[in-house]
Subunit: 467 residues, 4 copies
C-alpha cells in the first residue's frame, strides 16, 4: 500500500485536470469567504490555500522534502467554483496519487475541504479579533475555537485520544511495530492523533483502523494535527478522518497537548525531539505537577540504543525530574496499550475531580515561551541561549526552538531555501549541552532518521558558548 516513487517519476505522474464535487455533507461558503479565497494579492488567501491543497494531494507520495514538492508541482493550480449545490473545486496538474482511476480518493477530498475550512476560519474569525492573541489565555481560546470548528470534539467518548509521535523516516521493523501498537490501542477503543505524515505517524493509524474494525467501532477518530509549514513535508494519510490545520507550529503543539489524553513516542529524529522537549518542558512546569498524563516511549528491541540515548539526552538537558514523567517499554505493544488505558482513566478521574473539560485540557499551564511563535531565521537561531544555568523550563523552551529550527532546515520549504542561501544554522551552547546535542544529532544522521532518501547534509553547525 506504500507508494514510494522515484522523484524522476513525479513529474510524469500528474493529472492534467479534475473536478472535485462535494459528496455527502455539502460545503457552503459565503460570498466574502469566496472572495478571500480567490484573492491572490498581498494578504489574499489563495497562495496559502494552493500550497496546503497541494500538500494534501501529495498524500501517497513518499517524500519529505517540501521544496522538491513545490518545485516539481510549480504548475499546480486550484480554483473554487460556486455551484448551486455548494462549492466545487477544480485542480490542474495535481499529483496523480490522490486519484483512483481519475476520481479523487474520498479521504483526500475531505482533507481538501478541511484545509479550505480551516484557512477560511482562521482568516475570518481569529484574524477579526487579532489583538486577542495577545494573552496566553486568548491563544488557548483560539486553539480551542479552531479545533471545535474542525469538529474534533464531536465524538462521544472524550478521554480516549492517544497522541502518537515519532519519525517519518524509520526502519521497516520500527514501522511494523508502530502498527502493532496502533492495533492494540484500537482493540481497546482508543483513538489516535498524529502529525499525520508517513512512518510513525501512519503506522498507528493503520493498526488502529484494523483494531477498530475488529471491535466494530465505526466512529474511531484518526486525528491529524498539522500546520501550513509542515503539511507539505508530512502530507496527511487518507485514513486521517479529522484533519485540522492550525496556523503555526506552536498552536499545533498546544493542540496536541490539550486534546491528547496520553502520549506514545516512537523513535524519530529532530521533529520528535522537538515534541519531547515541548511536552516534558510543560509537564515540568510546577503548576502542572498534579496533572496525570501517561507518556510512553516505545519501540522494538532494536530501538533500545536509540531510547537509551534519548533518555541520556533528557537527563542531561532537563534533569532527573523529567525522567519521572515517562516510561520506556520495549517490544510489547499490549503492555503499551494497557498502560495507556490505565493512564487515560487517571486523566478522566482527574478531569472529573477538577471540573476540567474531558475534551480539552484547559487547566494545563503552558509557559508563554512555548506559545509564542518562533521564526527560525539564522539570526534567531544564533541568538538562542542554550545554557545549563537557566531555569529548566526556560532551557526547555530554547532547546525546543533550536530543534524546531532544525526541522525547518531539514524538511520545510522555507528552511531549506534559507539554508541553501545562507549556509547552515549556527547554534551556540554550553559545552555539556553542545555535546549532548551533537551526540544525538550524529546518531540520528547515522541511523538515517533525518531524511527519507538520499544523502543527509547537516543544516547546522554547533559551537560552544563563550561564557
Amino acid at each position: 500500500m506504500s507508494d514510494s516513487l522515484s522523484r524522476a517519476e513525479l513529474n510524469r505522474r500528474k493529472l492534467a485536470h479534475a473536478q472535485v464535487s462535494p459528496r455527502g455533507a455539502l460545503e457552503h461558503l459565503s460570498q466574502r469567504e469566496l472572495t478571500l479565497l480567490e484573492s491572490r494579492g498581498a494578504g489574499g488567501l489563495h497562495p496559502l490555500f494552493r500550497k496546503c491543497a497541494l500538500a494534501v494531494l501529495a498524500s501517497g507520495i513518499e517524500i519529505d522534502d517540501a521544496k522538491l514538492l513545490f518545485d516539481t508541482f510549480s504548475d499546480f493550480e486550484i480554483r473554487i467554483d460556486r455551484e448551486p449545490f455548494g462549492v466545487r473545486l477544480e485542480v490542474w496538474n495535481a499529483p496523480a496519487t490522490a486519484f483512483v482511476d481519475g476520481r479523487m480518493i474520498e479521504g483526500v477530498r475531505e482533507h481538501l475541504f478541511s484545509v479550505l475550512r480551516d484557512i477560511v476560519y482562521v482568516a475570518t474569525e481569529v484574524e477579526a479579533g487579532r489583538l486577542e492573541l495577545s494573552t496566553p489565555a486568548a491563544i488557548t481560546d483560539a486553539v480551542f475555537s479552531i479545533l471545535r470548528n474542525g469538529r474534533i470534539f464531536d465524538a462521544r467518548s472524550p478521554t480516549n485520544l492517544v497522541v502518537c509521535w515519532g519519525g517519518h523516516s524509520i526502519s521497516r521493523e520500527e514501522y511494523v511495530y508502530t502498527k502493532r501498537v496502533g492495533y492494540e490501542l484500537g482493540l481497546r477503543g482508543l483513538d489516535v492523533a498524529t502529525g499525520c505524515g508517513p512512518g510513525a505517524m501512519k503506522g498507528p493509524m493503520k493498526g488502529a483502523a484494523i483494531g477498530h474494525a475488529k471491535q466494530r467501532l465505526t466512529s474511531g477518530r484518526y486525528v491529524g494535527i498539522t500546520e501550513p509549514g509542515i503539511i507539505a513535508a508530512e502530507p496527511p494519510n487518507p485514513i486521517v478522518n479529522k484533519l485540522v490545520i492550525l496556523p503555526d507550529i506552536e498552536k499545533r503543539l498546544e493542540a496536541f497537548v490539550r486534546v491528547g489524553h496520553g502520549f506514545v513516542i516512537f523513535p524519530g529524529g529532530v521533529g520528535t525531539t522537538e515534541e519531547i522537549l515541548y511536552l516534558l518542558g510543560i509537564l515540568l512546569e510546577p503548576d502542572n505537577e498534579d496533572q496525570p498524563m501517561p507518556v510512553i516511549f516505545t519501540g522494538p528491541q532494536s530501538a533500545r540504543s536509540y531510547f537509551e540515548r534519548i533518555d541520556r539526552f533528557i537527563g542531561t538537558t532537563l534533569g532527573s525530574e523529567a525522567l519521572r514523567r515517562y516510561r520506556i517499554i520495549y517490544d510489547d505493544a499490549e503492555a503499551v496499550a494497557r498502560a495507556l488505558v490505565d493512564g487515560v482513566e487517571d486523566v478522566r478521574t482527574h478531569r472529573s475531580r477538577t471540573d476540567d473539560a474531558f475534551a480539552y485540557n484547559w487547566r494545563l499551564r503552558i509557559p508563554e515561551g512555548f506559545q509564542r511563535p518562533f521564526e527560525p531565521t539564522h539570526e534567531a537561531m544564533a541568538a538562542l541561549e542554550l545554557r545549563l544555568d537557566q531555569p529548566v523550563h526556560e532551557r526547555a523552551v530554547n532547546l525546543r526552538r533550536a530543534f524546531s529550527g532544525l526541522v525547518a532546515g531539514n524538511v520545510k520549504d522555507s528552511g531549506i531555501r534559507a539554508v541553501e542561501e545562507h549556509g547552515p544554522f549556527r547554534l551556540r551552547a554550553d559545552r555539556a549541552l553542545m555535546n549532548a546535542i551533537e551526540e544525538l544529532l550524529s546518531s540520528f544522521a547515522a541511523e538515517q532518521r533525518m531524511k527519507l532518501e538520499g544523502e543527509y547534509r547537516a543544516c547546522y553547525v554547533i559551537d560552544e558558548r563563550s561564557s
Copy 2:
C-alpha cells in the same frame, strides 16, 4: 396537546429548580464564551441569554404577551456550569410546561442550546467584524453565516423549504386547515419554516410531521426563525428541530426570504401583514423581476372575506403589479401543496441556470430600506412617511415599518411598556392609505386576530397627513 393556561395559574406552574445535562451531541464552549455569557454588566450577554432562554422554556404556554411573561417569571434564573463532558445549564423558577415529570423536554433542551449557540456566535463573530455590517452585502453575508452556524444548510435536498406565515391568533377552523396544508406539504417531501409560535406557525409543522412520518422521511426540517424581540411572544414549538435566533427583525425577515423556496400565507394579523409587505416589496424590486417565487395565500372558505380584504389592501397600497406575485387558494390543501411542488421546481431550475446557491438566494436584491433596523419609538413611528406619491418600494418599506411598530405595541415587551408609558403610537398617512390601514386593522380587531385572549386595546392612532 394544547396547553392553554389561565394566567392565574402561570404563577403556580413553576419548577423550582432543574439541571439540564447535554444528551447526544456535546456542547463545548471556550473560556471566553463562558465569561461573556456569564457577564451581567453593560454589554454582557447574560440578560439577553436569560430572556431568550425564558422564552424558549415558555413553549407550551399559550400566551402572546411578552411583558406578562417576563413579569410573571421575574424570578426566573439560569446559570451555565462547565462540566467535564461539556456544558450544563441550571434553571430556577422555570415554566413547568417545559418539563415532563421533572425532566426537560428534549426539543426544548435543544432550543436552549440553540439560543446559547446563536447568542454567543453573534456576539463573538459578527460583532468582531461589526463595521462589516455597514454594507448591504455584508449584512447578507452575516445572515448567511448565522444560518450556517445554526446548521440550517445541512440537509441534502436543498430546494424544499416552504415558509409558512400566518397569525398566532386564529380560529380553530383556520388552525385545522393549517395542519392539513402542512400534512399535504409533508406528504410531498417539503419541509417547513415558520416564525415558530402558536397558531399558523405550529399547525403546518404538526401536519408536516405526520406527513413525513407516513413517508418515512426521518430528516424532515422544521425550521424556526426568530429574533430576541419576538421569541417571547412566539415561543418555539418543540417540534422545531432547527431553531435559529437572528439578531433583529430585519435580519430575521431576510433569512426567511433567502432560505425559503416558496411561501404559504395563512390568515393573520399585523405581523403577517408586515411579512406580506416585506415579501411583496422585495419581489416588486425590478432586479428581482425574473426570480421565480411561489407565493400562495390560503385558508378555509370562512377566510374568504379576510383574503378579499388583504387583496384590496395590497391593491391599494402596492398596486396591481403586486397582485400578480401571489395566488389565493381556498380550502384545498392538496392544491396548495401541488402549487408549491411545482413552484419550488421552478426555483430549482432558475438557481441552476443562474448558478445561484440552492440553499441561499444570494441573487435576490433586498432594498437597503428593508435591511436597516427600524426601532419603533413613538418618534420614529410619527416620522414615517406613508404617501401614495412615493415609489412603490419606498412605500412598502415604510408600511412594513409601520406594521412592525404595531407588532411591537401588541406583543413585544419593549413595545407594550412604551405604549403604557407614552400612549398609543401616532401614525400619519395620505387619506387613501389611512383608510386602507384603518379598514384592515379594524377588521383584525373585530375578528380577534390581534390577541390570543382578553380584550384588545389599540396601540395606535392614525391621522391623515396634512400635505
Copy 3:
C-alpha cells in the same frame, strides 16, 4: 388529515395502474416463495395476498365494512415482478388514497411488503412444521417467530410498549382524548401498539408521534398487529412503522398480550369487549397471579357512563376479582401516562427477577381455550355455553368467542356474508349473562359504537338458556 369518503365516491377514486419499486431496504424473495405467491389455485397464496394488499391500500379510506371494500374493488389486481434489484409490485385499480400525486405513500409501501413478508413466512415456515401447532407451547413459539421475523423485537428499550385498545367508531371528543393520551405516552418515551385501524387505534399513534418528535425520539415504534380477517375492516394507518400480520385472531391476541408491557383501553364496541374479556380472562388464570400488568381504562368525562356499564358488565360476568386488575381514569392523560410509566417499571423488575424476556412474556400462561382458533359459524355461535356455573376462565373463553363472532358479523367480510345468508347469529346464555350482554350491546348500538356510518342492524339474537 382524515379522508372520510362518501361510498359513492369510492368507485371513482381508483388508480388505474401503478408500479411500486422498493426504496431503501431491498426485498429479496426466493424462487419458491415467488411461485407460492403467484399461485392462485387451491392452497395458493395469491388470493390471501391480494386481499391483504387491498386492505393495506385502503388505508385512508374511512370504512369499516370489509365486504363493501371487496365488492367495490373487485377489479383490484396485484402482481409481483422479479427485478434485478429485488422485487417490484404492480397494482391495478387500487384505492387512490394510498398514493400522493401518483406515487404510493412510503408507509403504505412498507405495509405492502410487510404483508408479503408475513404471508410468505407463515406459509413456508410455520406451515412446514404444521403439526407443531398442536401444543400450547408450540403456538406460543410460532407467534414469537412471526413477530421476530417482523422485526418487532429490534428496538433497544424493550419494556416500553403500551397496547392501546378501543373502538374504531368513537366520538370526536373521545378521539381527541386518545391523541392526548398518546401524546403523553410519547413524551415519556413509551411506544404504542394497536390493532391499527381508525379511531382509538389511530389517535394514540398520532399523539405519540408528536410526543416522540418533541423528545427527538426518532426510533419510536408504532406497532400494528392484525390478521387477515380484520385487516380489511381496520386498515393500518401509515404511521404504523412495524406492521405484522398474524395468521388468525387468537394468535393476534396472544401477540398483544405477550409483547405489551401495559394496556390502555379506550371506549369501544364489541371488538374492544372481546379484547377486554381475553385480557382479563388470562390475568384471572391463577398461574398469572404474580404477573404485574398495568391496565388502565380511560376516556374523557363524557365516557363515564360507558365505563360504568363496562365495569358492571365485568363485575357480572367475570366477578369482583377481575375488577382488581384494572383502574379507570377519567380525563387525565398525564395521569394515564404516569400510571403506565410506573406499571412498565414493575413489569421490567418482574421480568428481571424471573429471568423472563423483556421483549416477550414467555411466562404468561394462556389457557388453551384462548389459543385455539374459534370459527364463528352459526352452529359454533349457537353451541357456545354461556353459563354462570362455569369456572370463571372458561366463561371468559366462551364470552370472548361470542364477542369475536359479533365482530365478524359486524365488520368482517366472511361474517357479513354469513349473516346476510343465514340471518343473525343466535346466542343462548343464562339469564343474568343474557341481560348483561343485552344491556351492553344495546348501549353500543345507541351510542353508535358498532359502525362508522349508516344505520346499524344487529347481527345477533340472544335468548335465555333453558338449563
Copy 4:
C-alpha cells in the same frame, strides 16, 4: 497483528471463564430453539454449536489443523443463558486470543452469534422441509434462504462482491500481495468475500478495509462463507462482518458462485484447486456460456511458476475451453482491480438484461454432480472415476471431489482421523490425469502450500487406472 502461537503455548492460553453479553442488536431465541441448542443427545444441536463456536473463538490462532484444535481444547464448553434482554453466552476454557483484557473482541462475538443464528436456522427451517432438498432448484432455494437469513443481501450496491480464493499457507510476499490487491479493490468500492481463514483469505480483507477507510466507505462488506467442516481449520478473521455458515461444502461453494460478481484467485493448495475446478466446471456447462464472470488468477512475480503449473493442469484436465474463462495477471494489483471493476459492470449489465437478481445469480446452472454432497470416505475416494474419456463437466465433478477429499485429509478433523486410522486415501486415474495430479500435488508439498507448520505427510496415494 498476526498471533502465531507455538502449539505448546496453546494449552496455556485459555481463558477459564467468560460471559458474552449482547451489544447492539439483541438476540432473541424461541423456547424451542433454546431447547434444540441445549440438546446434547443424538440429533441435538449442541455438539455442532460447540464445535463451530470453538472454531470462531480460535480466530487469531494461526493453526490449520482442526484435530489439534479440538484435542487441545477438549475441555472447552459453551452454554446459552436466557436473559431478560435476550441471550447470553457463557464459555469455559476458550482460546484467550479471542479476548482483549478479558473482554471478547466484538467481531468474534458477532461471529459467535452468526454461528448460533445459522445453526438454528438450518436446523429448524431447512430441516423442517428436508425433502425439499431433493431437487436442484430446492437446494438453490435453500442456499438463498440461508444467505438471506444471514443478512448477506442487505447492502445497497449489489454487484460489487469479489470472491477472493487462495491458500491459507502462503509466503510472506504472496500475503503482502493479497493485501495490495484487496486495497486496490477497496479503493474502487468493491467488497470482498472469502472462505475466511488466514493467508489469502485474510489479506484481501485487511487491504480492502484500509481502501474503504480511505474512501470513507463505512458499509464495506467483508463476507466470510464457511461450513462446519472447514471452519475449525480456517477460523474467520474478526474483520469479517458478515459471516454465514452453510450446512456443507457443496452449499458453501454454491453460495460463493451465486453471490460473487467476480473472482480473484491467489496461489493456494488443494483447497484452492478444488475451488478452481468447481468454478471452471460450472462455467464450462453449456447453459452458462453467456454468463459473464470475471476470473483473475494473480500473484507476485515469484508466483509465476505456480500459475504456469496450474494453467497446465487446467489445460490437461479441463481442456483449452477452460483456459478462456480466466486471465492471469502478475504483480499488478491495480490492473487486477480495474479488471474486476470492468467485469462486474458486465455482470450488472447482463443481469439487468436477463432480469436476474443482482444479489444472487439464479440463472447460473450448476450441474447436479456439483450440488450433491460428497462424503470423502476411503471407499468413496477409491470409487471416483477420473477418466479422460468422460464429458468434461463430469470429469470436473469427480476431480473436484478428489481434491475435496484431499482437503479433508489435510486439515479437517474427520479427515485427519480417518487417514490416521485407515491410512492414506487411494485414488485411481487415467495415466495423463494421474501425472497431472501428481505433478501438482508434489509441487504444493515442495512449496509448503499444504500446511502452515510442521512436516507435511501426504494423505493420499494415486495409481493408474487399469482400464
